[in-house]
């Protein structure tokens, strides 16, 4: 059957539900893009809450959020494909697909966040700047999407050996792109709270956490949509993802702790930035959402229930993904919130930033793209995601 492309339609029973959700996702994309076009026309200066001093806002955080999820999914998928013995292999194909979709969501947000997207395609080719992290990030993520589409094509046509090679290449490209994204912030010595060697690796850690959470969540939702019980092998996959979630919530918490220990032994600007999170304007975002809902509670839930319940794992995954959303927002805003001219007359202790409607709409569009991608995958490729049917290793192991 090699070379035989397998694209199927969803089983009749689940079509209406997926159909309705797909329209919802399309509607989300529509209003988000409409908002973004409106913002382009009247100017981001008016439509977005960004200023000269705080040029980056929620949308940069959301772009990083989706990009980081994509990296996590891609890397975990590559590990599963290469080392089939690990129990996540049965969900690896879905991970590849979702990784592509998350990246498309990220591109949607960043593409409409920058002021002149039409100058970008030629600009980055005709006038490349190899010292620019943005350039590398864009180039590598762009490459990753291409490689993953090829990989997915190879999976569909069952050229598994080639697919594994492309999967590894994609994972390498994604990892480098992701740490370049970290370095976009981490190399700016003008912003001491971002600056340093931690962020690129922190982003990779967050990627593994987000990726594990995303595959648990989406796999569970897929089975809810199909109104099917999760099979043994898939459940074992989700348990492995659950273990990764426990490990990574712990590691990310430790990294966060050191970030603050370091900041509090640093300059006044570092202390003020750290304060903005622990006791300042971002403290609710930080303690309740990033730490409480995003790291501590899900870790506790998973440990206490010992990964026995798919519902608990799915809930923990959702909490982690909410927490990661806030984590990205907090990272972007806390790095810029302390005025460089603090101490001069009339300069506030913190800048204020609250996202505008146009920004929220674009975030909705990003979720719309990822949601639509997920549903389209279930519709057309549901069989490919099924562990018994198409997978390089499970095919051999379990048939």
């Amino acid at each position: 059957m090699e070379g035989n492309v397998t694209i199927t339609s969803a089983p009749e029973a689940i079509k209406p539900a997926i159909n309705r959700l797909m329209w919802l996702a399309l509607f989300m994309i529509f209003i988000g893009v409409a908002g973004a076009v409106y913002a382009q026309i009247i100017g981001h200066h008016h439509a977005f809450a960004n200023t000269r001093e705080m040029p980056w806002g929620m949308l940069i955080g959301v772009y990083a959020y989706f990009a980081i999820i994509s990296t996590g999914l891609c890397v975990l998928a590559a590990f599963s494909h290469v080392f089939g013995g690990n129990r996540m292999a049965p969900v690896a194909n879905r991970m590849v697909w979702l990784s592509i979709m998350a990246l498309l969501g990220a591109f949607t947000v960043i593409g409409l966040e920058i002021e002149n997207p039409w100058r970008m395609p030629l600009g980055v080719i005709l006038h490349p700047n190899v010292t620019s992290n943005i350039w590398w990030m864009g180039t590598l993520y762009g490459m990753a999407v291409g490689i993953m589409l090829l990989e997915f094509g190879l999976i569909l046509t069952k050229r598994f050996t080639a697919a594994v090679i492309f999967g590894v290449l994609a994972a390498i490209a994604e990892s480098l792109a992701n740490s370049n994204l970290g370095s976009v912030f981490a190399s700016l010595s003008s912003h001491p709270f971002w600056y340093g060697a931690q962020l690129p690796i922190f982003f990779l850690g967050s990627a593994v956490l987000s990726g594990a959470a995303a595959i648990v969540l989406f796999t569970h939702y897929s089975y809810i949509l199909q109104k099917k019980e999760i099979g043994e092998y898939t459940f074992l996959s989700l348990q492995t993802a659950g273990k990764i979630m426990i490990l990574m919530t712990f590691l990310v918490s430790v990294a966060t702790g050191w970030k603050f220990a370091n900041a509090y032994s640093g300059s006044e600007a570092m202390v003020m930035a750290a304060d903005s999170l622990t006791s300042g304007p971002l403290s609710t975002n930080f303690w309740v959402f990033e730490i409480g809902i995003g790291l501590a509670l899900p870790c506790l839930l998973l440990v206490v229930t010992r990964l026995k319940s798919v519902y608990v794992m799915s809930t923990a995954a959702l909490m982690i993904l909410v927490g990661q959303f806030f984590s990205r927002f907090n990272l972007v805003v806390s790095g810029e919130i302390v005025p460089a001219n603090y101490g001069f007359v009339g300069v506030p202790q913190y800048f204020s930033y609250s996202p505008t409607v146009a920004e929220y709409l674009l975030v909705i569009a990003g979720f719309g793209v990822v949601g639509f991608g997920f549903l389209a995958g279930e519709w057309f490729l549901g069989k490919v995601f099924h562990h018994k049917v198409f997978h390089p290793h499970t095919d051999i192991d379990h048939h």
Binding site: S279, G280, P281, S283, T284, V345, G346, Q349, Y350, S352
Partner: protein, 144 residues
Amino acid sequence: MWGNYKMKKILLMLLFATFLFGGAILAATGGDQAKDDEYDEDEYGPADPIIWVKPVKSVVFEHKIHTMEAGLDCDSCHDDLFEMEAGVAEENDDFTMESLYDGGYCGSCHDGDTAFASDTRCTACHIGVRGHTRLVGEEEMPSH
């Protein structure tokens, strides 16, 4: 704004504490503080600062500092150095730093002997556009 809220609480407490201590000082010195209310415009000149915007924005002059606090009389300056009417001096072509260095206008005293020299401590009198805006408000600075 959590931090600001906390700051406000601390500031409020400080303010309260200041009041308490202020009360103590008032009681001890027999109403020295009350003098502020007794500023007499007839005796000491206008309470509002004089602000010149020509030839550069902006220079401030406080009657209170020069009369009530430094002990100058009205005729120390009026009408010899300055007309009584505000804003006359800045219409003159010679209302410049050069004139001050030659002993004209403010330079009559601000020569380094009687008071600090005109070519030192620029920002003691030059409050600039920022200082002007603070005193007068944004609407009167159309060029801003």
